[in-house]
């Protein structure tokens, strides 16, 4: 896919995600755009694009199932038990059932009995891109707010304390994108999801603060992204768990692997 085609696809996906009915509606709209074929033929293009856009648009679809099913060599389109933080297992329902997770009503996660081990790397990369997109969405909301809102006779964006908070969020997200773009093997995917989860939570903290009172209301969009970041962080291993796992790997091997080279 050349960059012009990539741009057109991105535009089509973004339009679909902002217009289709969330959940099952978006699932079928993505199917209409050729999601299954894209996943089979160009996963390295399709997965980063689709999942980042899910984050940026705040949309939701059950496509994580497909990524994990494909990695497990199973037919896509169904669901399977997925490990969650704290040793819990969940299923990401596709039947349009209204019951979402307690924190993020949009995500239809329900607790299930422990399932069999599933390959995690591809799903972690996908979730990392989603978390990155969610972080970007929060940063954009905060950016618009500080440029628009005036206090003490000048825009909030002119106050260095807030500028530095948003810069901090931006740097964290850029570091996450670099790690995601370089992620190939199991370890790289583990590190990338941990970095992305950490970046999304960093963005949530700073953007929430920059948005002040309005960001704490339900009428502003921020809280939906904050909830999403927190729930996605726990899926297939939380930042805390993955960071610890990375540290345990260091201790086992006695050396830090250099996962990217020039």
């Amino acid at each position: 896919m050349d960059s012009a085609e990539h741009g057109l696809l991105e535009e089509a996906l973004r339009r679909t995600m902002t217009t289709a009915e969330p959940g099952a509606g978006l699932d079928s709209a993505l199917a209409g755009l050729g999601w299954t074929q894209m996943l089979a033929e160009e996963p390295d293009t399709a997965v980063p694009l689709v999942f980042r856009l899910l984050g940026e648009t705040g949309a939701r679809a059950a496509v994580l199932n497909d990524v994990v099913l494909r990695a497990a060599g199973r037919p896509v389109g169904g669901t399977l038990p997925l490990p969650y933080a704290g040793g819990v297992w969940v299923e990401w329902a596709r039947d349009g059932s209204p019951a979402g997770s307690a924190l993020d009503p949009g995500l239809p996660l329900r607790r299930v009995d422990p399932g069999e081990a599933v390959p995690l790397a591809a799903g972690r990369r996908a979730l990392g891109w989603w978390l990155l997109g969610t972080g970007r969405a929060m940063l954009e909301l905060a950016r618009e707010h500080v440029l628009d809102r005036q206090q003490f006779g000048r825009p909030l964006a002119s106050f260095q304390a807030l500028r530095h908070r948003l810069a901090e969020a931006f740097v964290a997200l850029e570091g996450a994108e670099a790690a995601l773009a370089a992620a190939e093997d199991d370890t790289g995917s583990l590190l990338a999801k941990a970095v992305a989860g950490r970046a999304a939570l960093t963005a949530a903290r700073h953007c929430q603060q920059a948005l002040g009172g309005i960001g704490f209301t339900a009428e502003h969009a921020l809280h939906r992204h904050v909830r999403r970041a927190l729930v996605l962080d726990g899926l297939l291993g939380s930042t805390r768990e993955l960071t610890r796992e990375a540290g345990a790997l260091l201790l086992r091997e006695g050396r830090a692997r250099r996962l990217v080279d020039l």
Binding site: L147, V171, E174, G175, A181, A182, E245, L251, D261
Partner: protein
């Protein structure tokens, strides 16, 4: 030469040629070791790759220099900070000096025969570099320079200095650059005592120093552009060398029997991995002909954050080592890491750049 082939060649050559530094950790010994490693690598041609043929190089892109520096840092053959200084000095001279001057001078630096320094900061001009007040006034066929520089690394060893001085009015446009011989009458160097115990920085006093006209780098008023142009060099190959050094330091922390705290160690690895991925992408972009700009402030912030977290963690997981150990290695590294958010543009300046240039937040 391709990167992978080059890396293999360098590794094989270093395996067969022992350049292990002596156990002496003094700055004199470090600088002598730097010169020794450069000379050996220059004579064996490795040091010539990635530099233009016009200045004694063999061509190829900067990735080759990044790889060479990574091998040198990984084997701890030379102190990484002073090793990387050529990455800033040479491109500046290649781009701005009269060609004959660059062809004459650059090989002396790359081959280890000379050290050079960079006279930018002044006592009254740190973060606000454009306010610098060292003056160069025309005098016959040349210039007479007077003023004071500070934080000038290796000035006490340097044969030449890339110096910024004011030739015009206030602000960016009044600044010009020169290549000054450090043995010129009127140059006085006084090393600064630093908190980490390695006196690599110095004050440089310039008292009526005569500089010939052909030693100006670029045209009058080009000094600020020269200073801005060297940032991408500092933030590509130099950063890759530093990241390699920090990975080596994490390995050493594990080898030294640190407390097995997987949370803290994992967090260090996350930081190092992020900046390594970012730096690799930056260099790919540069090798493909892309122009580096304010987005390299992100690399700088990630690197400084990673370096401080690494040494903070080392201090915690090797209790008492920084404070009490006879061997000063961890103490020196820990203390030097305090400066990571200060040198090369402070953490605050970097965040200002991110806010203004990358987030479009307008003026403060």
């Amino acid at each position: 030469m391709r990167t992978a082939e080059f890396r293999q060649g360098v590794r094989a050559w270093l395996d067969g040629n022992d350049l292990t530094p002596p156990p002496d950790h003094s700055l004199d010994a470090q600088v002598a070791q730097l010169a020794r490693v450069r000379a050996a690598l220059w004579d064996a041609d490795w040091m010539r790759h990635g530099w233009p043929r016009a200045v004694g190089g063999l061509g190829g892109d900067g990735t080759l220099r990044a790889v060479l520096g990574e091998e040198v840092a990984s084997r701890a053959l030379a102190e990484p900070g002073i090793w990387s200084m050529v990455e800033v000095l040479v491109p500046t001279v290649v781009d701005y000096a009269p060609p004959a001057l660059a062809a004459e001078m650059v090989p002396r630096l790359l081959s280890g025969r000379e050290q050079w320094c960079q006279g930018f900061s002044e006592p009254g001009s740190g973060s606000d570099l454009a306010s610098l007040s060292t003056r160069a006034v025309p005098d016959g066929d040349g210039w007479v320079v007077s003023g004071q520089k500070v934080w000038t690394s290796l000035a006490q060893y340097a044969a030449r200095c890339v110096l910024l001085a004011r030739t015009g009015g206030p602000g960016h446009a009044g600044i010009s650059a020169f290549l000054v011989d450090m043995d010129s009458p009127g140059v006085t160097v006084r090393p600064l005592r630093t908190m980490h115990g390695v006196d690599e920085f110095a004050e440089v006093f310039l008292d009526g120093v005569r500089v010939p006209a052909h030693r100006m780098l670029g045209a009058p008023g080009d000094g600020w552009r020269l200073a801005m142009d060297l940032l991408p060099h500092e933030r590509s190959t130099c950063f890759w060398h530093r990241v390699a050094h920090l990975y080596g330091t994490l390995d050493r922390l594990l080898a030294d029997g640190c407390e097995p705290d997987p949370d803290a160690l994992g967090a260090v690895w996350l930081d190092l991995h992020s900046v390594r991925c970012r730096s690799a992408a930056t260099q790919r972009r540069q090798a493909e002909g892309g122009r580096l700009g304010p987005e390299t402030s992100v690399d700088k912030i990630l690197l400084a954050t990673a370096e401080q977290r690494l040494f903070d963690t080392a201090r915690e997981l090797l209790p008492g080592t920084v404070e009490l150990a006879e061997d000063a290695t961890w103490r020196t590294g820990y203390l030097y890491a305090r400066a990571a958010t200060i040198y090369g543009g402070t953490a605050e300046i970097q965040r200002n750049i991110v806010a203004r240039r990358l987030l479009g937040l307008g003026k403060e």
